[in-house]
Symmetry: C2
Subunit: 349 residues, 2 copies
Amino acid sequence: MNERKLKILAAVVEEYVRTGEPVGSKILAALPGINVSAATVRNDMAALEQLGYLEQPHTSAGRIPTISGYRLYIEQLMKPPGMSPEEKQRLDSMLAIHGSVTEELVIQNATAALAELTQCAAVVSDFSPQFSVISKVEVIPTGRKIYMILLITSAGSIKNKACRLEFDLTNEQLNWFSGYLSENLEGISVADLSDELMADLIAALSAYMMAISPLVQGICELSRDLRQHALTFKGEKNLFSYQDLDRMEIIRFIEHKDELSRLLDDSFSGIRVLFQEDKNSFVIGNSSMIVSKYRKSGKNVGSLGVIGPMRLDYAKVIPYIEYFSQKITDLISENPEEGHIKKEGDSHD
Amino acid sequence: MNERKLKILAAVVEEYVRTGEPVGSKILAALPGINVSAATVRNDMAALEQLGYLEQPHTSAGRIPTISGYRLYIEQLMKPPGMSPEEKQRLDSMLAIHGSVTEELVIQNATAALAELTQCAAVVSDFSPQFSVISKVEVIPTGRKIYMILLITSAGSIKNKACRLEFDLTNEQLNWFSGYLSENLEGISVADLSDELMADLIAALSAYMMAISPLVQGICELSRDLRQHALTFKGEKNLFSYQDLDRMEIIRFIEHKDELSRLLDDSFSGIRVLFQEDKNSFVIGNSSMIVSKYRKSGKNVGSLGVIGPMRLDYAKVIPYIEYFSQKITDLISENPEEGHIKKEGDSHD
DNA sequence: CTTAGCACTCGAAGAGTGAGAGTGCTAAGT
DNA sequence: ACTTAGCACTCTCACTCTTCGAGTGCTAAG
């Protein structure tokens, strides 16, 4: 395995990603940087095929990279072009759409930006809400026996739910209930909103349950919402533009969020690239998935990534993902020394 | 244009919708209800082609309906099977998912249900928020110079936005501002939240603007959000499963919501069916779009519909749309006599 | 170790063919 | 006057056959 073989492998990957056609020895020999004849390239390619990095769709076609080929390219061969300050600024401005004040917005914006930039589907599994604290609980009558429950967290996200009661509450009842909730829930960490805590709440309120049961149930549902981290897709429809991804598989993939979710929540660090290694894998055939963790004050609190065709400009896309996950980490981390929410236009280096 | 020709046209439409193959005279002649020979059917089909209701993909193929053919079928020929009480109940239960307490939820659920039932994309343009009233305005500090503005309407929808100020407000300032907003905005109809009203607000607060300008701006944005009715899609991805719809066109269509929005807001009554009449139309080729208005207390306040292939079981889908739009009308109308929010399980006939 | 030369392989694209589905027309039947 | 059987005709689809060319592996010479 010499230098030149690696160079040829890299060239095959890049050329195949660019054109979508199997790459032949003639084309490679003509490439700058490869200063040997087609015959030599052929010999090297035969060796690379032997090693499992390349394959031939059929005897008289060029070579295409195998999964191992892509792996080797991504891990050792590709040379991501450094990002220019202008580019960084462009990315930053995409993050700041509508002045993302809350963590949730930061993360959602970053995911949408990633989908847009890469023309792939982007996905994020955010369980940072679990590490926040209930900062406010309100019950607001909105007319006709309907009451709105609001839960606001320290991370700035709002959950709400409307409930219909059998009877209207008196002001006194409302104030009491509202006060009780504030007393007992505000300051509690979301992770501690266990079903037991909810059961306690229900027990404590049992005397009043007849009247307010839908409200209590609403609160339980909201707390469950908060605890379970949501998986969000952006730009799924980008996937449908790629010829080499099967529509049915895409739909299956999008609809089975649970498997994806399990995978994203796996603990790992750095960037991870996944392919459909075997037919039973839930990853879409001919697709690749690149995921990265982001952190909040040192703890892993979510993963984001893109799903696209295997023929992907990894040298461009991977740095984007790295940049975004680092950026999210900076923006949502609590320690102002190591990263905090800054205004658009500030520099981040 | 006699009875039999109409029967044949209907049969061609139904058969073509079912199989996707051009329909020949032999198949038609064999159909129950058509008791003439294939030759006679051929003569009639030739006449229907002359009249512009049918066309031949090529000389030796069967006939397929033209747009006019579909139109005539939809307007006069199809016989929608009446919905059984069980079916109505099934539809009703789809509407009640998660006990749709607010109008917004009712409408969103109905749209999702429609997409699911028809396996098409469903779309809704809801401007009912314009006819509701601001019932509550709150400003809630959520830490670190961040304040959350909440707008709640009488229809039960919540809009919120987080704003970052330069400095923290004192309790006094917060109470004053909060009170001022309640005083001046609560009870105002959303339709009246004009830019002028906002300008007045800004003028009145000018003395304090330095400190709270992001908040005021946030309010303006929220009021704009409320006034402009959102166009929502559900199940867009269903469209990608249809062979005869072009992916690129689908994407173009979904991304250009403005044209669609213009069309949905057009005033019309009853059900409207659209096809791609000419190549410049923004409607997807080979697709059809069926839209219907729903009302609130007599006023048109939104439209919902489905977008699917032209080969659609109109006799099934159109009644669904009619039923849902009527149901929404019932559920969101204010007059309890003619329709009001009822609990799941109640009857609606 | 590299390269030119060459025979070989195999898919893509085009041409040719037969089968089959469907038509329009004509002439006979009711 | 309308319906129907019969028939010649048309045109696509699926299939085969063939050619073309890109790309290969191997060999032998540099």
